[in-house]
Amino acid sequence: MQGNEKDKGITPSQTVGPFFKYGLTPTGDYAWNDAFINSTLTPDVTGDRVRIEGRVFDGDGVVVPDVMLEIWQADAQGRFADPQDKRALPNASFRGFARCGTDKDGNYSFDTIKPGVVPDPDGKPQAPHIVLAVFGRGMLRHLYTRIYFSDEAGNAADPVLALVPADRRATLTAVREAGKPVYRLDLRLQGDNETVFFDM
């Protein structure tokens, strides 16, 4: 075996570029089958169905039409569809992963269920949250952030939100629209109301 035995480090990240749309998020625009859509919903999934939507902006406040977002989350009981999570998975076909490209106006949306409580490394409960990765032209490595829900009392005691300066926590909190199972969260890659991104 030759080649990449050069040294032991990891393969560096590069931008997903502007042209991922026909390969990763085709949704019928190109002659290629979808691997993922912007929904985690499966027929057997239990829990509160919600829609999360918003727009993505750059440092000039201009909408970003060429980013790709990926979400990863637990089911309504806080279990992950991952072999490392040994607990029973009653929602057998629920995966907890979805992918969305922004449209020409920078809009994204996900249809999913509200996740349950997941423990932190000390066993302390985390408020319901979804992990979000942001990929795009101009982004040499994807950015990690989280989506919390505005109507969750547990946010006040969440150990990860507690790491975030109080005046920036709103950038992680999707706001419920009155009377609808719809939450809105805009992402700002840069600037005064820049979304909080995590180093992990």
């Binding site: 990449n4 560096p12 990240s13 590069q14 931008t15 042209f19 085709p26 990863w72 982004m139 950015l143």
Partner: protein, 233 residues
Amino acid sequence: MTFIYPTDSNKAHPLPLSPEYKSSIKRAPNKPLIPMRHTLSELTGPVYGHETVREGDNDLTRQHASEPLGERIIVHGHVRDEDGRGVPNSLVEIWQANSCGRYVHVRDQHPAPLDPNFTGAGRTVSDAAGYYRFVSIKPGAYPWGNHHNAWRPAHIHLSVFGHSFVTRLVTQMYFPNDPLFPFDPIFNSVPDEKARARMVSSFDLENTQPEWALCYRFDIVLRGKNATPMENH
């Protein structure tokens, strides 16, 4: 033990802001990233893909009525973590320009021919040892608007998941000895020379198929776990 996947590994990556790459200037965060401990949400991840991978999805030369134009290539290698363990069952997705350096994307309007027999997208799942393989066409270099006379070195985009959300990787595989390397701000956004070299595939004569296809080997190395077992399980 705070971090189960050591964050030191991340030093191989480009910095978010690489001013020579102009698109990063308005899209890289200005504020420092906030360090956090990995929780189950970060340590688990989508480790499947089988149900979406169809027969032939890893052969980009057989997706249309005829074969695409260009130099047929085999691209193969192992997905491993930095401790040398193979990463099985990982979805590997690729996308690339055609042999003339043109993407089928509606926004790529540079005056090179589109190939009706080439979409440029593929996917496969790594096997039990972490091995993956594609058949494709060598992509051409193409011009872009970053600076005067800017051309991207030939490359194939790859997306890999690994076994947790923190091992998620999107990278680009380059071809050996490309004369455009010194002039490309995306390739050179990786500060460490050895790390940059890990994005360059190796010509693989042993697996080149006589009178059919040249072969390139590209091993993908994801972050490795410390020995510390996961807690709260």
